[in-house]
Amino acid sequence: MATRVLDQHPAHAAAHGEKTGLWSWVTTVDHKRIGILYGATAFFFFLLGGVEALLLRIQLGSPESTFLSPDTYNQLFTMHGTTMIFLAIMPLSAMFFNYLIPLQIGARDVAFPRLNAFSYWVFLLGGLFLNSSFLFGAAPDQGWFGYANLTSKQYSPGLNVDFWMLGLQILGIASLAAAVNFFVTVLNMRAPGMTLMRMPMFVWMSFITQVLLLLAFPVITVALILLMYDRFFGSNFFVPSGGGDPLLWQHLFWIFGHPEVYILILPAFGIVSEVLPVFSRKPLFGYAAMVFSGVFIAFLGFGVWSHHMFSTGMGPLADTFFALTTMLIAIPTGVKIFNWIGTMWGGSLQYRTPMLFAIGFIAMFIIGGLSGVMHSSPPADLQQTDTYFVVAHFHYVLFGGSIFGLTAGAYYWWPKMFGRLLDERLGKLHFWLMLIGFNLTFFPMHFVGLHGMPRRVYTYPEGLGFDLMNQIETAGSFVLTVAFLVFLYNIFKTSRQPRNAPADPWNGATLEWSIPSPPPEFNFAEIPTVHGRDALWEMKRQRGGQLPEPIRASGAGIHMPNPSYWPLVTAVGVLAVFVSLMVIGHTGVLGVAAAIALLFVGVYMWAYEPAG
C-alpha cells in the first residue's frame, strides 16, 4: 500500500518511464493515451452536438417561433446529426476500442501504434475542419445524409456542402485506418490460449464493427468523390439535367448508411455484454448465440439499405425484398435482448451505476427496436417515414441504445482508465435524470409524427395539434441538460480525488482487471495464458478467491514502440490535401500539389523512422 502512494509522486512515476507533459501526448503511440484523447475529444463534440440539439428544441418549443432563422436551423440540425454520428458516437466507441482491445486480449498495444495515433489526429483535424464552417457562416445545411440533387452546385452554391463533403471524407480516412488496425490486432495479437470463441464479447462486437467499417466506408468514399466531381469539376453523376440520377446517391449513401448504424450500436452491445455478467455475477447467457447473432446482423446489415428509401417508388419487388430482409434482421437483434435478460435471470444483481445504464439500455433499445419493426412494413412506413416517428425510432436506438451503453462503459472502465471511481450517488442521479429526460424528449415524438409532423422543419403552425407534444419534448431536453451537468460535475469532482482505485473494483471477468489502475505503459508485466472464457474469473476460480492487488512492475526489459510526431504531420498533410481541394479556385493545382508533398513527407519519414 505504501508503494502505491509513492507511485503517485511525479518523480517516481517518471523514474518508472511514465511520460508527462504536452509533448508526450502529442507524440504518443500508446493505445491507452490515444483512447483517452479520443474520449476527451469525442465528449467535447458530444456536448457541442447536444447544445445544437438544445437550440433546435428551443426553436421547436412553440409554433411559429422566430428564435432561429430557417437557414440557421437547417445548419444546426445538419451539424447535430453529423456531429453526433461522426464526431461523438463513433469516436467514443473508438475510445473503448483503443483502450480495451489490447487489454482484453492480453496484448501490449495494437498492431500499428503509429497508425493508431494517425487515426486520432485525422479525426481531430476532420472534426475541427467540419466545425470551422461555422466561422464562415457556412456550416453544412443539407442534412447529415446530403441528398442529391439538393447538394448540387445549382441548388447549394455555397461552401456548406463542400465542408460537409470534404469533412466526411477526412473522417472516413480516420475510421478506415483505425479499422485496419483493430482488425489486424484482434486477429494476430491475442494472448496464448485465447481462441476467437474465448474472446470477451466486447472484443467480438468491436471486431465485427471493424469489418463493417472496412466494407461500408469505401462506399461513402466513392459517393463523396462522385459528389466532389459534380460540384468541383462539372460532372453529372447526380445531376438530372445532365443525365445523372439523384437516386444513385441514395443507394450509395445507404449502402454505407445502414451498416453505419450497426457500427454505431455494436460497440454498445459489446459493452453491455461486459457489464451485465459482472453485475449479475454470472456469465453472459448464450455466448455462441451472441457471437453468431452479431455476425448475422453485420452480414444482413448490407442487405437492408433501401428500407430508407421506401417512399422513392422503387416498385413492389424491391419494396418486398427490403421489407423482408429488414424484418429478418429483427430476429438476431431480439435474440440478443433475450440473452441479456437471460444473463440477469437468476443472478445476484448489483445496482451500481454501470449496471443501471446497462439495464436502461435494454429497456430503451427494446422500444427503438419495436418502432424499427413498425417501419419495416413499406405501406405503413409511407406514413411514418420522414416524420417525427422515425426521429423517435432512431433516437431510441442511438441515444437509448448507443449513448446509454457508452455511458455504462464510461462508469465501468473509468477506474481502470483514470485510477479513480466516479461517484456512485452522482452516477445514480445522472442515470435517473437521463432516463426521465430522454423519455420526455423522445417518446412524444412517436405521436407527433403519426399526427402529421414532418422532419427537418424549422417551425410548424398552430392548429395542427403539435404544440403540446413539442413543449413536452423541449422540457425533456432541459432535463437532459441537467443530467449532463451532473455528469460533468461528477467527472470534475472525481478528478480531484486521489488516484487510488484498485485494479479490480467490480470483480471483473476479463484481463484488464488483472493489471493496475491505470495500467503501466506496457500493460502486462507478463503476457497471460488463457484457459477459457471470462479469463479472469477462470483465474480466480483456479486460485480459489480474489487475486492480490498487482504490483506496479518497472517494465524494465519490455520494449515498447517509440513515440513519434510523424503521424501528426501526416494527418496535417491529409487535412491540407482536402483544404487545397476546397480552395482550388484560389490556390489551383499548385496548392493541391503542395499539400500532397506535405503528405508524402509525412508518410516517408514515418516509414523510414528508425525502429528504435
Partner: protein, 348 residues
Amino acid sequence: MLLRTVARRSSRWITALGLLVVTLAACSTDQYPQTTLLPRGDFAKIADDLLDTTVRWALLVFVLVEGVLLYAVFRFRGKPGDAEPHQTHGNTTVEVIWTVIPALILAAIAVPTVRAIFQTNATPGKDALTIEVVGHQWWWEFRYPEFNITTANEMHVPVGRMVSLRMGSNDVIHSFWVPQFAAKRDVFANRETRMWFTAQAEGDYPGQCAEFCGIQHGRMAHRIKAQKPEEFQAWVAHMQTLGPKPPGAAAPAGDQQYALGEKLFTGKGCIACHSFAAVNAPKGMVGPNLANIGSRSYLAAGTLKNTDENLARWIRDPQGIKKGVLMPNLGVTEAEAQALVAYLRAQK
C-alpha cells in the same frame, strides 16, 4: 430501499404515463388535421391497417419483454452476503424457442405487408382522375390533363372517384404527403413517381412536403379540398373559364385600384414568374399559377391565411416572411400593395 420507493412511485408513474399515452393518441381531425391515424381514403386505410397490425404485435412484445425485464430487476436483486449464483451458460431449448417465436410474429406481419405492397403499387383503372403533381422549391403545382387546367397549392378532388397522381419535381427531391387519404411519395426531376387514393370524406385537409428540400422545406404545405362530385365539377367548369388574360379584360367598371394593380403586376415584373391562365397554363414557371388566387385559403404554400392584410404583407416583404423564397422583395409601397391586392383578390 430506494428501489422499494421507486416501485411504489412507479405504479403512479405508469398510470400517469398511460393517461398521457391515451391523451396523445386520442385524435380527431379538428385537433390533428394532418394526422395519419384517421384515414379517410382507401390508400391511407391500407397503411393504417398495417400500422394496427404492427402496433398490436409491438405492444404485446413490449409488455412481455419489458415485463420480464422489470420482473428480473426486482426478483434477482442482489443482497450483501449472497452466494455466487448458479453459473448458467445458456439453454439451447429456450434459445431456440425465443428465436422461432419472433420469426413467427414477423411472418404474421410480413404476409399482410407483401399483399399491401402490391396493392399500393397497382395502377389505377382508366376511370381514375389523373392529376399531375410537380414539386417546386417551395410550392406545389397541380395539373389536371383531363380538364386542361392548372392550379397551385390547393388540390380539389371529387369524393368517391379514384385519383391517380403522376408526380415529378421541377428542381430537387420533394415528397408529396396526403396523410388523410393516401401517404407520401417522393418526387424527382428525372423520373415519374405515382400514388393513388380515393377520398372517402369531404373536407379541407392540410399536407406538407416530407423530404428536406432546402431553406423553406418547413413552409411547403398544400391543401386538399375533397368535394362532392357536383361541387368538384362546378369548380372545374369555373377554372376552365380562367384563360390567359388580355390586358384590361374583366376590369370591374371604374375600379381604379384594380386597374392600377393590373398595371403594377406587369410593371413590377410579377408577370415573369406567375401566370393567370388556368387553361393551357405554361409549364416550368418559377412561381405558382395565380388563376384562382383570390379564393384560395392560404398564401405562400400554407404559410399565411389568405386575407387582404396578409396578401399585402406577402407582396411587400416575401423575404421577411419566408426567407430564401424565390420571390424577391420588389420595393412595393403600401399603396401599390393595396392596388395589387384588389387586383389579385378579383382573380377567383
